[in-house]
């Protein structure tokens, strides 16, 4: 299954469309990181609106994508987590290791990144 990675302005947007297998998640992670390098993207939005569950494997993958993308210079925001999914993740016991920036929906995620990137630019040009 090919999952499109879109480029908008300075950042990439990936929407997790269906329930992915562990292998597909691993492959998608490679694709995302390649694309960041290729496009010099400064931000990454992972949209998980369509995901009905996030188990420990998916959570670990999201976290590792975010950490690696950040190291490559792309600020990462995960958007669209369903309330039931968020609740379940906390009950699962994930709060200890959950260190990803999140936003309620795509629009807010985009705004958040724009603001973050703008203030970075301000610093550079001042």
């Amino acid at each position: 299954m090919e999952i499109p990675i879109l480029k908008i302005e300075d950042f990439l947007i990936v929407s997790f469309q269906t329930e992915l297998s562990d292998d597909e998640i691993d492959k998608l992670r490679e694709d995302i990181l390649d694309k960041i390098k290729e496009t010099n993207a400064r931000g990454l939005i992972i949209d998980i609106t369509a995901l009905k569950i996030v188990d420990s494997f998916m959570a670990r993958s999201l976290s590792s994508i975010a950490t690696t993308a950040t190291l490559l210079g792309a600020k990462t925001v995960v958007v669209g987590m369903q309330p039931a999914v968020a609740l379940t993740l906390v009950e699962l016991g994930l709060r200890i290791k959950w260190n990803i920036q999140t936003a309620l929906n795509l629009e807010r995620g985009i705004n958040l990144l724009r603001e973050a990137l703008k203030s970075e630019k301000d610093v550079v040009y001042e």
């Binding site: 562990d22 009905k52 569950i53 420990s56 379940t88 009950e91 994930l94």
Partner: protein, 131 residues
């Protein structure tokens, strides 16, 4: 009540088993949050059966006595869990994982029973009741 035994041998089984569980939970009348809890617990235990247990099977069915609920039984004939007490406490993983699968599945469900013996395999029974 309906009962099905499904294989849990590889990654794609994990996906089909949890969507089967979700459908049964929805049909039984569980709300969105409980469906999510049940499906997530299934995903964790199915992955354990595949990754640690060398593959196994699962039975998912609705149950009814004075209340109605869902019962899921995972069985594998893998190496068994060497340190069960530690594994249930959470944060313990022999494969560099987070070690939240077992303890998390237990928290997400109403009932959780596990039997595991070295060299013979592991059986996990989880239940959730309609409130």
């Amino acid at each position: 009540m309906s009962e099905d035994k499904l294989p849990v041998k590889n990654e794609s089984d994990i996906i089909s088993v949890r969507s089967f569980g979700r459908n049964l939970a929805a049909n039984a009348g569980f709300g969105i949050v409980d469906q999510c809890r049940i499906t997530t617990a299934i995903s964790e235990l199915a992955r354990n059966a595949v990754v640690h247990g060398g593959g196994g099977s699962v039975t998912i069915k609705t149950i009814q006595n004075d209340k109605k609920g869902i019962e899921i039984i995972f069985r594998d004939e893998g190496p068994g869990i060497v340190n069960l007490e530690l594994a249930l406490k959470g944060g313990y993983s022999t494969v560099g994982g987070l070690g939240i699968g077992l303890s998390g599945a237990k928290r997400l469900m109403d009932e959780f029973q596990i039997t595991s013996s070295a060299g013979k395999g592991t059986t996990v029974i989880i239940r959730k009741w309609l409130k």
